[in-house]
């Protein structure tokens, strides 16, 4: 199993996907800092101070969860898109172990992506504050919470991404399907159910409960467990399909 996870990391390291995503997220993180600094002191927002670090670093947290979801989905469906799955299953005919290795590797990759992005964002924030003569504390407990939430969200969403990819296989269908689900289907379900209390159990709401600073209707722990549950259910269903389907 260890060697399969290592092989997944070798796959990740040897294409441009992870580096491209990391560069995009770093760029996005810097933009959120610029926007956050611009807003500081205006319209009742607190002005820049030593306490601003956690708030400014938290900018890309939600999008990091999305990037990790994308990474997991592309990693799983890419095997089918490029037909590398043939070679993968020749080496490891026990297909369940291949999916399991991805379920380990991609959440970790999502966490690495989140760490790299937060490090970039934090460096920019600290530099910016220093230029204004402010020295923030890196031992701020709220900063620790921001980092923890970002890593938890990215890890769980990486898991969901692999699950969706195993279930759908077709890369375009998986991407479009996920977008439609988040943007349209969940909204429709909410209005059809006509019960906001049920809506909080949907996957995006579970993800929001983890990443949104204000918190959703669910507690962070409940949201995490629910999202992990969705991820495992998707992965199990996906694995069943992957094991049965013919690789032609």
């Amino acid at each position: 199993m260890t060697r399969l996870v290592r092989a997944e990391f070798t796959k990740l390291r040897t294409t441009r996907l992870l580096y491209g995503l990391a560069a995009a997220m770093a760029g996005f993180g810097v933009l959120t800092v610029v926007a956050g600094v611009g807003d500081a002191g205006a319209q009742g927002n607190p002005s820049l101070s030593a306490d601003s670090l956690p708030m400014l670093v938290a900018g890309p947290v939600t999008q990091l969860a999305g990037a990790a979801l994308l990474l997991g989905m592309l990693g799983m469906t890419g095997e089918f898109r490029h037909h590398t799955v043939t070679q993968t299953f020749l080496v490891t005919p026990d297909r369940g172990r291949v999916v399991a290795a991805k379920l380990v590797a991609y959440p970790l990759a999502g966490i690495v992506l989140a760490l790299a992005t937060l490090a970039t964002t934090a460096t920019v924030v600290v530099g910016w504050l220093a230029a204004k003569g402010i020295t923030p504390s890196l031992l701020d407990a709220r900063l620790g919470r921001v980092v923890g939430v970002a890593l938890l969200g990215a890890g769980l969403c990486g898991l969901v991404g692999v699950g969706v990819g195993a279930l759908v296989r077709n890369q375009v269908a998986a991407l479009v399907g996920t977008l439609v689900w988040v943007a349209v289907v969940e909204g429709l379900l909410m209005s059809l159910l006509n019960a906001p209390s049920l809506g909080k159990w949907l996957p995006s709401a579970a993800a929001a409960a983890i990443t949104s600073p204000g918190g959703g209707h669910l507690s962070r722990l409940a949201g995490s467990l629910l999202l992990a549950g969705y991820a495992l259910a998707l992965a199990l269903a996906g694995t069943r399909l992957v094991v049965r389907r013919d690789i032609t």
Binding site: L4, A7, T10, H82, H83, T86, V91, P93, I247
Partner: protein
């Protein structure tokens, strides 16, 4: 002992029966050509043998076990399937490193097999820029990574230029001389005729014949090609002598399994004028075509 055993193998895709009750064996240390026209079911059979496609019924085993039950399959069996199963953005070397890592093989093997297939110079280039021939070589490199005793190759000559086909023949011969078992598919008999000990011919998903190459060669026949304005009159006269003659368009006939003397005598006795006559020998490709088209008519 049989290295590969296929028994009653059948695969349906909906209404289509791709492989129908196919059985054959490949002995250890032999090189067997797996032949048939396009769409005969070769690839489906090989994919069932490799555990990628689940048979509707029947079994396919390597060293007595289904592929999926092999421990460390890459060390037992090397396979080359389609030539396009690579991530275009990954280099040849990195592709093989992924395989080696997953299989628990030393990474030093990667450079050895790249050298063996003549790709050492292109090792660090992205596969996206590779020609079809280079991809075939990379597929072979991946198959050789685990130093397997059994090799299963699906149309490995596809996309190779004449120099590449020559190289492939040499490689297959070299692997066979080391006592490895090779099952190599092709839709062109000539591609593998110089390399294989035996052939398994399928058409329409069914076995046509399994024989040695020598036995197949023995099925080639002496033909006599005749041009005469009285072709229609000559045919029944030849038939009366027990000689089958098929029209070859217009005023031409091809008499099967006979000599120019016999045809000449028959024509002279009936006062039929011959403009042209020559002896020919059918070749392996003719035998192959004849075998596979007969099967095509029946199924």
């Amino acid at each position: 002992m049989a290295a590969i055993t296929i028994e009653g193998l059948t695969k349906r895709f909906g209404e289509v029966v791709a492989v129908h009750d196919l059985s054959f064996e490949v002995d250890q240390g032999t090189v067997v050509g797996f032949l048939g026209p396009n769409g005969a079911g070769k690839t489906t059979t090989l994919r069932m043998l490799l555990g990628l496609v689940t048979p509707t019924s029947g079994t396919a085993r390597i060293d007595g076990r289904p592929y999926r039950a092999l421990v460390d399959p890459v060390r037992h069996v090397g396979a080359v399937l389609e030539a396009s199963s690579f991530h275009p953005g990954r280099s040849a070397r990195n592709h093989l490193r992924v395989v080696a890592t997953a299989a628990g093989l030393p990474l030093a093997r990667v450079d050895q097999v790249l050298e063996q297939v003549g790709l050492a110079a292109a090792a660090r280039r992205r596969v996206g820029g590779f020609s079809l021939g280079m991809r075939q070589r990379l597929g072979l490199a991946a198959a050789l990574l685990g130093d397997p005793q059994v090799l299963i190759l699906d149309e490995p000559a596809n996309g190779l230029d004449p120099e590449g086909v020559h190289w492939l023949r040499g490689l297959l011969r070299h692997l066979a001389d080391q006592g490895r078992t090779v099952l190599v598919s092709s839709h062109v008999l000539a591609e593998v005729a110089q390399t294989v000990d035996q052939v398994v011919i399928i058409a329409g998903g069914r076995l046509v014949t399994q024989s040695t190459l020598a036995a197949l060669t023995a099925r080639t026949e002496q033909l006599v090609w005749v041009r005469t304005p009285q072709a229609e009159a000559l045919r029944p006269l030849l038939a009366a002598q027990g000689i089958q003659a098929d029209p070859d368009g217009g005023d031409q006939l091809i008499a099967v399994g006979t000599t120019t003397e016999a045809v000449g005598q028959t024509a002279a006795a009936a006062g039929i004028v011959l403009y042209e006559m020559r002896a020919e020998r059918s070749n392996l490709e003719d035998v192959f075509l004849q075998l596979t088209s007969q099967q095509g008519v029946r199924s």
